[in-house]
Structure formats: C-alpha cells, structure tokens
C-alpha cells in the first residue's frame, strides 16, 4: 500500500520534473507559447482589475448620494426647519441641510444666467428644499428612504441626485458580463493553443510513444507526461499573465495619482489581490491540463507500433 503510494508520487514527481526540463530544453519555443497564453489570460484578468477599481470608485461616490426633497409651496420656512430636524433624527439619515427658497433663487440667478428672466417673475417660483444625506448607501435602503420621504405629504418631489451612479452601475454590470464572455472565449483559446502545442509534441515524440507502447506502457503512463506539460504551460502562462497585469498597473499608477490629485483626492489602484491571483494561476493550470487531455485523448491512440 505504502509502496504503491510511493510509486504513484514518484511517477508524478518524475513527470512534473520531466515536463519542466522539457520546457527548458527548448526555451525560445516554450517562451513563445507561454507568452501567447499569458497575453490571452492577461486580457480578462486586466479587465477584471479595471472593473474592480471602477467599482470601488463608484462605491465611494455613492457615499455622496444625496436626496433633494422639494417641499410644497405652502410649507412655511418655520415648518421646513422643523421638518429638517425631524428627518435628521431618523436612523437611516446621516444629515439634513435646509435650503431657503430665497437663497436658492439667489444662487440660481447668479449661476444660471437667467437673471433678467427671473426678474420678470413676480414670485419666487422655487420652493424650500431639504438636502438629505442617507446613512446607508445600499440601493434598497435608499429606495425605502425615498418612499417614506415622499409619503410625508408636505413634500412635492424627492429627487435622487445621483441617478448617474445607478446608470454607471448598470453599465458596469454590462461590462462585467462582457468580461465574462471574453473570459470564456480566452479560456477556449488557451485550451486550443495548449492542445495544439501538445499535439505537435505528441507528433514529435511518436517514436518514443511507439517504443513505450511496445515495452508495455499503459495509456495513462504514456499520457501523463503530456498532461504535465500542458499543466506547466498553463501555469507558466498564468504566472506571466499576473506579472503583465502587475506591470500594467505599475505603468498606470503615476497618471492615476495625477488624475486623483486634480479631483483633490487620493486613489490607490488595486491590484489582482491574493484570491484573484490564485484563481488565475489555478485556472491557467487547469486549462493547460484540459487542453493536453483533449489533445492526448485524440492523438495518442493513433500512434500504434507497426
């Protein structure tokens, strides 16, 4: 039992080291294949990093998702201030700012350029308004708050100033779906590239395969070196892909910092992260194994001693 296990691990260790030394024996050819795989894998990996960063950014913007509550014309300034302090006591509200209709008109007059047109009006057309900053930024919490503000009876209109955040989110979801599709296509491409590489390798080693079959090598024994070769191609490709993404981030870091400074903020780019790196490496290795499996299943059987 122990001997069988020892034999099993010995064979696998031999196969692994054999695959590595085979990659190193033809460094240029191996490097080209690995680079093709790496660039293919870096594409979806990089897109995911981009998405993660944009998602984090939009998350921080959402913190500033304020409601503007326009009150009925009939509501007096006094009542409006009361309402402001009432709403401010709610658990799901962070703070409330009262905007006097006269101030609002002044601001509008100075900023819009419609000063003369406004002068033609007899009354101030603007109502008093409250700017409500929610305590929670989750979409459904904000919807609940909007509904209860709307139901107050003294409010004319509740407007979420940050609808564009929701639009951005929807767009991100679209991009995310696109990245999923790209990932699937890239996975297929990697399987095909590695499968083709293994097919060539099998053709190159047909004499060896024939001899191994003649001296009693089982299908599994003959196939395993090729599976390990595919595994190594995939893993090496994923490793280089992770490096490519890291290099791209390093190149982007300075311009991103400059851009953030223009907005008087600090933003640090997020990298792949430990979990995503592991997914990338594991995925690459699994794709390599799969490609080799398909190629060897198809082509090893064709080589028989004659």
């Amino acid at each position: 039992m122990i001997e069988a296990a020892a034999r099993y691990f010995r064979l696998h260790a031999q196969n692994l080291s054999g695959a590595v030394s085979r990659l190193l024996r033809y460094p240029l050819g191996s490097l080209l294949t690995v680079l093709v795989i790496a660039i293919a894998l870096a594409l979806p990996a990089g897109m995911r990093v981009f998405l993660a960063n944009v998602g984090a950014l939009s998350g921080s913007w959402e913190g500033a998702a304020d409601f503007t509550v326009y009150l009925d014309d009939a509501v007096s300034e006094e009542r409006a201030r009361e309402l402001a302090s009432e709403i401010a006591t709610r658990a799901d509200v962070d703070q409330v700012e009262f905007i006097n209709r006269a101030d609002a008109l002044e601001e509008f007059r100075s900023q819009s350029g419609f000063g003369e047109a406004l002068d033609a009006l007899e009354d101030n057309p603007l109502p008093h308004a409250l700017v409500v900053r929610p305590g929670q930024t989750a979409v459904n919490a904000m919807e609940t708050l909007a509904e209860s503000l709307d139901a107050l009876g003294e409010t004319a209109l509740v407007q979420l100033d940050t609808e564009w955040v929701a639009r951005l989110r929807a767009m991100l979801e679209l991009v995310e779906r696109t990245v999923d599709i790209v990932s699937a296509l890239v996975a297929l491409a990697v399987v095909l590239v590695i499968g083709n590489t293994i097919r060539l390798e099998i053709n190159n080693r047909s004499t060896e395969i024939e001899v191994m079959k003649l001296v009693g090598g089982s299908d599994g024994f003959i196939r395993r070196p090729f599976l390990y070769l595919g595994f190594c191609y995939g893993l090496a490709g994923a490793l280089v892909a992770a490096l490519l993404v890291a290099a791209a981030l390093a190149l982007l870091e300075a311009p991103v910092r400059a851009l953030a400074e223009l907005y008087a903020s600090v933003y640090t780019l997020m990298g792949l992260g430990r979990r995503d790196t592991l997914v990338l490496l594991g995925g690459g290795a699994a794709l390599g194994w799969a490609g080799a499996w398909i190629a060897s299943a198809r082509h090893l059987r064709a080589i028989e001693p004659t």
Binding site: R7, L11, E210, K213, L214, V215, G216, S218, D219, F221
Partner: protein, 247 residues
C-alpha cells in the same frame, strides 16, 4: 510458451500474410524463423507481441490466448515479452541507462531495483560502465546490444527478435546471436526472425521456415555441427540431426 493454432492473418488491403500456421515453442526453447522477404516472419512476431491480431486461429503466449486480451490489457501482456528490433528503436534523447530502464520504470520498479537490474542487463550484454553514454555515440553493434539489454531487463519469459542482425556484418551478427543464446541458456524462450541462413545453419537451432505465409519446414538445420539438442526432444526427428519437413 508460444503456440499457434491454424492461424490466418489477412491485412485490410486483402493481402494474406499468414495462412494456416501451427507450431508450438516450449518453455526455454530457442527457434529461428526464416524465409524470404514477405513470407510473413514479421507478421508472425507481431501476432506474438499483440501488435496485430490474427484473422482466424489462436495465438497463445505465456498460456494466454491473445484473443482474450482486451486493448486495455495489452500493456500488461507486453510487459512479459521482450522485443528486439532490427533498428534497435532506442530513444536518442535519453542515455543508455534510461533506455534500458524504460520497461522497468513502466513496470513500476523502485529506483534502487531498477538501477540494479539495468546494470545487470548491461553487464550481460558487455556494456557495463556505458550507462551514461548517449546511444548515438555507440556503434551499431553496441546499440543493438543496448536494445537486447532493454528487452531482457525486466526478465521476460519470452523474447522475440525481428532481424536483430539485419544491419550488422557477419562477425557482429554472430556475436549478437551468441549473446541471445546465452539468455536462452538461462531459460528464456526465444523466437528470432532472420534471413541470414548461413548464420542459422552455423548455430543449428530449431528453424521454422516460412514461404508465402505457410510453414514449409520446421526442424533442425542440415549442417548439424553446431546444433544443440532441442529443449523438448521430438521423437519424429530422424537421423543424427535430421531435418523434419512438413507438407
């Protein structure tokens, strides 16, 4: 050890390579398979190693009917047969040691035991100390000896050889045949296909002669000077070292 019972082999292209072959090779026996090119020598050996299957009839090797060996079980079946090729079929990207060790690694021997057996096999073929050489650096005769070492390394009961001296001059050919005889001396059953009739006569073992896919003669060479007793004496044998002819 090897038994053919009314074996026919027809290839998909319609050529009938063997028709009605029957013979038996007992354990520890050594026999030559002769005949002109295309007589079916290689086909017969291929049936023994399960590279081909008979169209009709039974091929029994190591007490197993090859018809009952499924594709999946062929590797295990072949591990009990050593095969020597005319062109050696050595792997040129591996050392002599690795070539000889291949069947042992496949059979799952531990490294220590593998090393021991490889050295023993190389010692037997007179190539001790050449383990780390590349096969390409050896002479043709030496390469064939590596091929023989590989065939016997896992100590199979049966060794078949297809024109093992086809590429060698007479002197080296004799050397290779003497080497194979030595394995026969320790009990290995040997079936050797060759068209080197002079050498066959000189060595004087049982000879099965194939012509056009049929056995035209099965017995001992006329020149009995170097003939040995057969492993299982055949009562139908006539004379000192007489030749028995069928048909």
């Amino acid at each position: 050890m090897i038994r053919f019972e009314d074996v026919y082999k027809r290839y998909p292209n319609g050529r009938e390579a063997l028709s009605g072959i029957s013979f038996a090779l007992e354990r520890g026996e050594m026999a030559f398979l002769t005949g002109p090119s295309g007589a079916g020598k290689s086909t017969l050996l291929k049936l023994v190693a399960l590279i081909e299957r008979p169209t009709r009839g039974a091929v029994i090797v190591n007490s197993r009917n090859t018809a009952g060996v499924s594709r999946r079980r062929i590797p295990g079946f072949r591990r009990r047969i050593g095969v020597v090729f005319q062109d050696h079929k050595l792997l040129h990207d591996r050392s002599v040691f690795e070539n000889v060790a291949l069947p042992l690694v496949i059979a799952g021997f531990a490294p220590r035991e593998t090393g021991r057996r490889v050295r023993a096999a190389l010692d037997q073929v007179g190539l001790r100390g050449r383990e780390q050489h590349e096969p390409i650096t050896l002479s043709t005769g030496e390469q064939q000896r590596v091929g023989i070492a590989r065939a016997v390394a896992s100590r199979p009961d049966v060794v078949i050889a297809d024109e093992p001296t086809g590429n060698l001059d007479p002197e080296l050919s004799l050397e290779i045949m003497r080497l194979l005889e030595r394995f026969n001396d320790v009990g290995v059953t040997l079936l050797i296909a060759t068209h080197d009739l002079k050498l066959v006569e000189h060595l004087g073992h049982r000879t099965i002669r194939l012509v056009a896919g049929e056995i035209s003669a099965d017995g001992f060479a006329a020149d009995g000077s170097a003939a040995r007793r057969p492993a299982t004496p055949d009562p139908t044998l006539t004379g000192r070292h007489g030749t028995r002819y069928r048909d």
